[in-house]
Symmetry: C2
Subunit: 114 residues, 2 copies
DNA sequence: CTCTACCCATAGTCTACCTATGGATGAGTC
DNA sequence: GACTCATCCATAGGTAGACTATGGGTAGAG
């Protein structure tokens, strides 16, 4: 059952994946699988993050110093890698949110001129 | 004069270029240079379409049958290639506008949960 | 002990953008 | 007449970042 509308691949908005990850991690440390679940849930399953996009993206964020990673145990006693925002990551998040908003506004101004 | 804020490269939202081109052409046939001018003007110079992105994109749209092209003279008596939306192009435009809106809504639902 | 849900990750491919480059023509200027 | 600027077209080469496909390991339930 379940609405069964085709979820967007984030592909349609490359560059936005980082933003979604940073935002999600701003709520607290989380492991990869959990991040994908969280984004899916919040967007009512409209956004689906594929694992093949997710983990490379997390590596990227790590290399850029925006998140740090650490192996821990989940509440269900499974081994998982927890990702956490750094201070630089928080700054980056703010910048990207702002850029996203401005960009959407600019596109809208072309699509729906006053 | 002019705020001098760095114009976005459309780079930030790949996939959106086609949408902007289709929308602009829905206002009537136009040549490449004019399209870029138009988008820059409507967005208050927030969006800048580089020629190296523009012409390949127009070719793409042509191959997909969404626009057709024709050599004509400009009002200033210069030779230029005029692009025009096809019926399929109009349909595609509607679909892309709708997808864009839904996608932005989905991203916002993650960025700013109710 | 098998199956499902959880959890990680890489290789290879493809799309679509950017930078850089090159050329032609009309109009105005000295 | 030569120069220069704005207009107009287009391709080559590089790169980023997503996708598909694949592979593996572990805990808990039946």
């Amino acid at each position: 059952m379940a609405a069964a509308r085709d979820p967007f691949k984030v592909d349609l908005l490359p560059g936005t994946l980082d933003l979604l990850l940073l935002k999600t991690l701003s709520l607290g440390p989380m492991h990869g699988y959990g991040i994908a679940q969280h984004i899916g849930r919040l967007s009512a399953d409209a956004l689906r993050i594929e694992e093949g996009s997710l983990y490379p993206a997390l590596q990227r964020l790590r290399l850029k110093g925006w998140v740090k990673a650490e192996w821990r145990m989940t509440p269900t006693r499974r081994r998982a890698r927890y990702y956490e925002l750094t201070r630089a990551g928080r700054k980056q998040l703010a910048a990207e949110v702002s850029a996203f908003d401005q960009l959407v506004a600019a596109v809208r101004s072309v699509l729906k001129p006053a």
